[in-house]
Symmetry: none
Subunit: 239 residues, 2 copies
Amino acid sequence: MSSKKGLKRSALENGILKQSRRSDSFHSVFVLATDTKRRQRRRRTAFTDEQLDRLEEAFENEKFPGIQIREDLSRELNIKEDRIQVWFQNRRARWRKHELKNKPVTGLPVSQKSFPACDFYSPNILQPPPAVFPPLPSVSFTSWEPMYAPFTTKQVLSLKRDFELPHSHTTDSQATQANNAVIHPLETSSASHGPSPTASKDILYQASSFYDSDSGESHHSAEDYSAAVTLVSCFQRET
Amino acid sequence: MSSKKGLKRSALENGILKQSRRSDSFHSVFVLATDTKRRQRRRRTAFTDEQLDRLEEAFENEKFPGIQIREDLSRELNIKEDRIQVWFQNRRARWRKHELKNKPVTGLPVSQKSFPACDFYSPNILQPPPAVFPPLPSVSFTSWEPMYAPFTTKQVLSLKRDFELPHSHTTDSQATQANNAVIHPLETSSASHGPSPTASKDILYQASSFYDSDSGESHHSAEDYSAAVTLVSCFQRET
DNA sequence: TTATAATGTAATCGA
DNA sequence: TCGATTACATTATT
């Protein structure tokens, strides 16, 4: 049983800040840019049980909440919106680092999977790579950017190059199959509030780091493949 | 009974915690490879005397070693790099907690102290503020950035403004004296590997929060002063 | 008990 | 936004 002092204090101060309008003695502690007080690093926020529960719940529903959701949470939990945003950033980092890589879906080869129209968030989209990689569908890269540009052209071209050069040993039928299976137009579901641009970057990260968790082996082509497939499957084809 | 969960989460093993929410999705996340067994804490590393000596030596030279230095140490001492990093984190914590607090030289006004050329790390550089604050030397801010920019121009200007506005009651002689005493050009010692940008940030943080530790009193101007002096003393003057 | 290695996570910066 | 890194609070080991 070691010291709870620090915790208690944080919790207390935090509670004061959030529930009552903060008392004078702690006022400047939490407000970064008051007139005279300059604190280079903000005091660590201690979320309450209830707040964390609610945040986790929100995180399950939406990994990348837009400003609307964040504002709602902010009001509901009486936490400043920027803290909400930071919380989600860190929560996603944790998600990527731990939880994602431990939820592998051993399943069908990519060519036989049906992809959701644009499931940015489901880990299920990550596939173990097939033995032979279907080539990437021929999507015009320039057509991606106008929608939203989660990657620079350079990044995308690099990805495409990495994929195309080493493993160009696929058959035409495979290619066709993959084309049909992988590519879906963006569906209407994302009409209301489509995933934010960076969401798909996150997916790429998922894909590319997915097979790193256990061994130091070289799955580079598998990585690239998964990344590319995932990426491509989330973008609308040029029409 | 407000914020126990944060503690509880830390206290309990990670594997158990997340089950409560959306079990089917997160369950496998933490159970992972060690199915029936909780994830254990890493075995406490016991550094040898030689290793500690070397680490301490490195710590004196560089409180915030970059990846390069850490890798070198890792090879040299045959310790994994992440352990090196953790060691430095804990070492810095100890440094802040103990050594920093006990060393400050209660004494001479800043204007009479001799500052090391660019001693980012010595706690001695932190001074109890004099009753009257010498003004900051007039350093051209633009000249700082090309060297390395631990702060944005905006930040620096903000700092300067914060300092200058409230306490502008110093004499010219003091100013001159302070100028001479505080400002030193960067010495050659940092030619090979200057402190990382974040290092100086940390110093500013130290300076600005140094007097917070014990009381909630308002040392705001002292903070700003120390921060400013420390900051300025670490940058080369425009020539 | 103390010192300190290890852990979790909010905060911060650069890109 | 991410990724890396930090400070900080805490836990747990020796």
